[in-house]
């Protein structure tokens, strides 16, 4: 461990992975029951900053209801404490029995983007080698799947940011599409200071979000499209860039293919049509495109002040999410950005290890190293590392939403192992997900605290938290970071690596599941060698040494490499070395407005909570600041509905109904309401969301659906019934 007092690690939550130092508890920490003191640490991404989630993260370590003993559902249907042996036997027996009766595919695995690289890798291997089921997928499907599919088809590689985040700080223009990073990863906005000073920040968001507000007062431009029409806006920007002769034609000719089809496809998206579809004034579309093109040209001439295009979940979690990412990439390519130092396209990863989590085999169609499971060479390589016959490896499974839909159906899986995911809150069409989980013969959930999903489980296994374990995380900029242990887990709590090891042994695979994270990493490195996401030059020791020396290691990092902070400077990892432009078209949301559902619902996050809120809802400071679910609506809509601030409103979609307190704010569009998705129960946004998916990525359309909104006529009942649900 590097010198200096305290444990140098990173925040447990989002993909910014802010650097923090954990030291013995001071008075303040003790006062809130935290076993360590958290301090921000200077680092290129967070520049020493942390958001409130990070500052308070240590409190979750001692959450009063922390799980410290396995739970097994007894004959009466009650979850009761059990020993580890007993619990693991129940799991192993259940798996064996169900697989004997229904075949190997009767057991499925659901992973998470918060797991360390080591755990994600071990989980993928466990599914393929021990369970030998094709059915594994993870919640990253709700998060990064469209960005991944779009980047892969254009660049032949998917690394969220193909350049260090710090590049954004030196840009002269930054386009943020559907990303509310002022709310989701506040310290990152420190990198936007200079670009705002130059009026170069462009935010595309249906809400005047905290991030959109950064464009106020000359900071830049806010384009506020009707929900679900961001793609049309992008096509319009591209139309202007190509139609007005503002594109970097030299770059297009030298470094891309497919420009002609894209040019033709956007000929049909002139700004006035874009305005009609999206509500973004034609003139604003033109101004934005011209500003971006002018700055891109200037940066080409002067070699500084690049232009960066970034997408987030707001545009990706859509039934046309992959198309939207392709359009954003096409815009970046037309401006000649990718591969030019200081410029480029990137997707802002959401979950802590959303990046690493998708590289090491948790995805239904992938093997470690971002290899395709249907590629014979990839299978042979990985099988060799695993010491198994390639033919025993299962083929591709199905993406998350499809997997969930089939759980407990006659032809679908009968058992599910869940790791690092609170499905009941975070998956779309939550009521149906709950139903599917209830239909299972065996639901095993590993978690830190009781969650809405553990409540449905047959077996609950208590596992370690970030400060109690060693491992690695890959941040939003593709940098591999060390997570370090500051204190031992509470008695009774085990790491998922232990769990997988013990289960494998019970299921007849006594070797191949080491419990030492460094050892797991070394195997991961070997398995990834030669793959797109090559970690073979990395080890815990090397990462420690590099950090001590102030060096960053970004993948790909094959043996002998110093890592790759910037991709594409010479060529793209595609067969011909060129980026592929893919023509796409806008169709609109799957669940569009109807007479009985004349308002859009958009969903998203708030600063104080992370994902399904299972962790952050347990931190009093966060819970107080953002105690309950709410529905944000514009004063004009509130007036029309006869609702005032704080009163309850009922939101109904074709799938379900939710009730939550009204937050009346002019930052909303009058035709759309917003709900954060961190809560379960009657205010759960994902009871309403649509499980329509993107045809390419399988990403569900979380961000937009059609709803009816009406006043309930009572004021908010407060947070009490919220916590009750979690019991």
């Amino acid at each position: 461990m590097p010198a200096g007092p305290g444990t140098r690690t990173h925040c447990p939550y989002c993909a910014l992975q802010c650097a923090m130092t954990l030291s013995p508890p001071d008075d303040d920490a003790r006062a809130v029951g935290a076993p360590v003191t958290v301090a921000g640490r200077d680092f290129p991404t967070n520049r020493g900053g942390l958001c409130q989630k990070g500052w308070t993260s240590a409190q979750v370590l001692r959450a009063p209801d922390r799980l410290t003993t396995p739970l097994v559902r007894d004959a009466d249907g009650e979850l009761r404490p059990a020993s580890w042996d007993e619990a693991l036997d129940v799991v192993a027996d259940g798996v064996r029995r169900l697989q004997a009766e229904h075949g190997r595919e009767a057991v499925a695995v659901f992973g998470g983007g918060g797991l360390t690289n080591e755990k994600a890798y071990a989980l993928g291997k466990f599914a393929r080698v021990v369970l030998r089921t094709p059915f594994i997928d993870y919640n990253g499907r709700f998060c990064m799947a469209s960005a991944a599919a779009g980047a892969n088809r254009a660049f032949g590689i998917d690394r969220g940011l193909p350049f260090p985040l710090a590049d954004v700080g030196a840009a002269s223009a930054v386009v943020l599409l559907g990303s509310n990073l002022a709310e989701t990863m506040p310290p990152s906005t420190a990198h936007l200071g200079d670009v705002r000073a130059q009026g170069g920040l462009v935010v595309v968001d249906p809400r005047h979000s905290a991030t959109a507000a950064l464009t106020d007062d000359g900071g830049g431009l806010h384009l506020q499209p009707v929900p679900g029409t961001d793609l049309a806006v992008l096509l319009g920007l591209l139309h202007v860039v190509l139609g007005e002769g503002l594109a970097d034609e030299e770059y297009l000719a030298a470094r891309t293919t497919g420009a002609d089809e894209v040019r033709r496809s956007v000929a049909a998206w002139w700004p006035e049509r874009v305005e009609q579809v999206s509500g973004v004034p034609a003139d604003l579309v033109r101004r934005t495109a011209r500003m971006l093109a002018a700055r891109a040209a200037l940066s080409r001439r002067e070699g500084r002040g690049g232009v960066v295009v970034l997408t987030g979940r707001g545009v990706e979690q859509s039934s046309q999410g992959t198309a939207t990412v392709s359009a954003a990439i096409n815009l970046a390519l037309a401006l000649g950005l990718p591969g030019r130092p200081g410029s480029g396209y990137g997707a802002i990863t959401g979950q802590g290890n959303g990046q690493g989590g998708r590289e090491h085999g948790q995805k239904s169609d992938q093997l470690p190293g971002y290899r395709r499971i249907d590629d014979p060479a990839a299978r042979a390589h990985v099988a060799r590392v695993w010491g198994v016959d390639p033919d025993t490896l299962p083929g591709p499974g199905v993406p998350a939403v499809e997997l969930l839909r089939h759980l407990g159906t006659p032809a679908g899986p009968r058992a599910l192992l869940v790791h690092g995911c609170n499905l009941v809150v975070s998956a779309p069409d939550a009521d149906r997900v709950r139903e599917r989980l209830r239909a299972l013969d065996l639901l095993v959930v590993c978690d830190l605290v009781p969650s809405e999903t553990t409540r449905l489980a047959h077996v609950v296994l208590p596992v370690t938290q970030w400060a109690e374990e060693e491992g690695t995380m890959t941040s939003l900029e593709g940098r591999v970071l060390r997570r370090r242990r500051a204190l031992p887990p509470p008695p009774g709590v085990r790491s998922e690596l232990d769990v997988l090891h013990d289960l494998a042994a019970r299921l007849g695979v006594p070797t191949g599941f080491p419990t030492d994270p460094a050892e797991v990493f070394d195997e991961l490195a070997r398995a990834s060698a030669g793959g797109v996401a090559d970690y073979s030059g990395l080890s815990h020791a090397r990462l420690d040494a590099a950090e001590a020396a102030g060096q960053a290691l970004h993948w790909p990092c094959p043996e002998g490499s110093a890592g790759t902070p910037r991709l594409f400077t010479e060529s793209f990892p595609t067969p011909d070395g060129r980026a592929r432009m893919v023509a796409v078209d806008h169709h609109g949301p799957a669940d569009d407005l109807r007479r009985d559902a004349p308002i859009y619902l958009i969903t998203g996050r708030v600063l104080q909570h992370y994902q399904s809120g299972a962790q952050t809802r347990r931190v009093p400071a966060l819970a107080t600041a953002q105690p309950e679910p709410y529905v944000e609506l514009h004063p004009l809509l509130a007036d029309r509905l006869g609702v005032s601030d704080g009163e309850l409103v009922e939101v109904t979609s074709a799938r379900g109904t939710a009730v939550a307190a009204a937050h009346v704010t002019p930052s909303a569009r009058p035709d759309a309401v917003f709900m954060p998705f961190h809560w379960s129960g009657e205010g759960s946004a994902n009871r309403l969301t649509s499980d329509a998916t993107d045809p390419v990525s399988g990403m569900p359309e979380f961000k937009v659906c059609a709803v009816q909104v009406r006043a309930v006529g009572e004021t908010s009942r407060g947070a009490a019934d919220e916590l009750e649900v979690v019991r």
Binding site: G40, R47, G48, G49, L50, C51, Q52, W55, E183, P186, P187, S188, T189, A190, G193, H208, S209, A210, A213, D216, V226, L242, G243, E244, G245, E261, R263, R264, S265, A267, A268, W270, E272, R273, E275, Q276, G279, V280, P281, A282, D283, L593, R594, R595, P598, I599, L607, Q608, A621, H634, P635, L636, L637, D639, R640, T665, P666, S667, P670, D671
Partner: protein, 542 residues
């Protein structure tokens, strides 16, 4: 299934795409009279204006595997009994389904002098027309645009953008009178005047003056303009427009005359084949004629709700017919609101109009002639049913989405006349004194002004102290200035910290500004809010 499409324009070519997506096995042949690949006709006015290049209006090609494309080929007859389409090449194409997408032609007014179009006179419908107009602008000083509908306005503004002197002649009381009432029309006229476009309304052309020059060869017409050279009985003579006499007896000189007097659906083929034709080819809701094997879409069609001559309708029809022919469930629900949005694409003049007021509608109007702004909105059954909006592009954009999606209108429809104020989410307010205690100063850590005041009262004396205690400024750092400002303000308020702030105050810190020491409130300079107001005053002069 053999499908033959007549017309490879905007709708015909889109239909080929749509049908291929729905029914990949269909054998498709598309016949187009124009030599070109399909292009975006809508952008021809932008080409005339010099705003987009010809190269960038080409649409996705229909020339893909499984589709036979016959460019530069006209269909000359439709034999419905034998189910064959006859081409000018003599070839006969058998079909199971025939789709007419022949579009429309420019209407040429019957005015003496226009029996044959002299040089310098152009309609604007095809790429060739646009190219010729662009070429002509090089040697032209005075242009006259005949017809003040949408297209006429676009052309007039476009030519003006190229620096020509432009006169717009319109028979109605004001331009775009099909879409705009008097108030909106007046605002549009004002807008045109501001752009320097001369207007003559309430008059039409009585005669086009033409001068006759030697032979065509000596005139040297630009390439491709040979169609403008008429051959008279006496030999090859070039006739060229010099001006137009209007019905009020006046004459306007012009060396370029653009005809924008409306369009006529191209229905020849259907008419001769005995299909029912009114203005366009009559079709039912499924875009099918009385002959179930013959369909019509786009500008040539006349569906039950009537043709709009707008592309949105044509593309919607294309999607629907593709679904019908593919045997899929046709999209049952028509779009919620209307699609008849007429949006002017002119540089310097913003006009958008849609719908029509229905009986019992409530109409609200904002009239601002001095600013060239006029907004008129009709509301019925809680939705926008008609809009005329001039000189207010952002309001127009909002109204368009409200109209096309039929979203609920505000309780008071007058709210629709201005952009609803879009406030910032929750940024710190500028003045420490006016800021309520519950105002968030540091978003990252959820620190309010009240928290900072309490922190001061507990002994914090610097920004660093505050940061340590509340973590304000330790996230993105964006609030550092605001926190410094608060600390300074608190320091001024209680210059002698040893005297100690009365700690009992913290108990009622929830009351807005209750923690603000009174002395400071009085000494605080003018709140910055009124500074903004002052700045606005001089700007209104400009």
């Amino acid at each position: 299934m053999r499908v033959v499409v007549v017309g490879n324009g905007m709708v015909g070519s889109r239909f080929v795409e749509d049908l291929r997506a729905r029914a990949p096995q269909a054998e498709i042949t598309v016949v187009g009279a124009e030599e070109y690949e399909p292009y975006n006709r809508v952008l021809l006015s932008e080409v005339v204006a010099g705003a987009v290049g010809v190269a960038s209006i080409t649409l996705p090609t229909s020339d893909v595997d499984g589709v036979r494309v016959l460019r530069g080929t006209s269909a000359t007859a439709l034999d419905r009994t034998r189910r064959v389409l006859v081409l000018d090449s003599g070839e006969e194409l058998p079909y199971d389904h025939l789709v007419l997408a022949t579009g429309a032609r420019a209407r040429i007014p019957s005015v003496p002098g226009l029996e044959r179009l002299p040089a310098g006179v152009h309609p604007l419908r095809s790429l060739d027309d646009a190219r010729e107009i662009v070429a002509a602008t090089v040697n032209t000083r005075r242009a006259l645009v005949l017809g003040g509908g949408v297209l006429g306005l676009e052309v007039a503004c476009g030519l003006r953008r190229r620096g020509l002197a432009v006169t717009l002649v319109h028979g109605g009381p004001h331009v775009m009178d099909r879409q705009l009432g008097d108030g909106a029309g007046a605002a549009a006229l004002a807008g045109l005047t501001r752009l320097g476009i001369e207007q003559r309304t309430g008059v039409v052309a009585a005669e086009v003056h033409v001068s006759t020059f030697g032979t065509a060869a000596t005139w040297g017409a630009p390439d491709g303009a040979t169609a403008d050279v008429a051959t008279t009985d006496t030999g090859a003579v070039s006739r060229r427009v010099t001006g137009v006499r209007l019905t009020d007896g006046s004459t306007v000189a012009a060396d370029l005359l653009i005809l924008t007097a409306g369009t006529v659906p191209d229905v020849d083929l259907a008419e001769r084949a005995g299909l029912e034709v009114r203005r366009g080819v009559v079709v039912d809701a499924d875009l099918t004629t009385a002959d179930r094997a013959v369909h019509a879409i786009g500008d040539c069609a006349e569906p039950p709700e009537g043709g709009t001559g707008l592309i949105a309708q044509g593309w919607e029809q294309s999607r629907r017919l593709a679904a019908v022919l593919a045997g899929a469930d046709a999209p049952t629900s028509s779009p919620l609101g209307g699609t008849d949005v007429v949006r002017l694409k002119a540089h310097g003049l913003d006009v958008v109009a849609m719908g029509a007021p229905v009986a019992g509608a409530r109409t609200v109007t904002l009239s601002d002639p001095a600013a060239g702004r006029h907004v008129e909105v009709s509301v019925a059954d809680g939705a926008v049913v008609a809009v005329a909006c001039v000189g207010a592009p952002e309001v127009g954009a909002d109204l368009t989405t409200a109209y096309t999606r039929a979203t609920p209108v505000p309780a008071d429809p007058a709210q629709l006349l201005l952009r609803p104020v879009r406030g910032a989410a929750t940024t710190a307010e500028p003045s420490p004194t006016l800021m309520p205690d519950r105002a968030t100063v540091c978003r990252c850590n959820g620190v309010t002004k009240g928290d900072i005041v309490r922190c001061w009262e507990h002994g914090a004396r610097s920004t660093d102290d505050v940061a340590r205690a509340t973590r304000a400024t330790t996230g993105c750092g964006g609030c550092t200035e605001a926190v410094c400002g608060l600390v300074d303000w608190l320091a001024k308020a209680s210059p002698d910290p040893s005297a100690g702030a009365p700690h009992s105050r913290t108990a009622n810190g929830a009351q807005p500004a209750s923690t603000s020491p009174a002395a400071v409130t009085l000494s605080e300079p003018v709140p910055s809010g009124s500074g903004t107001a002052q700045r606005r005053v001089p700007s209104s002069r400009s």
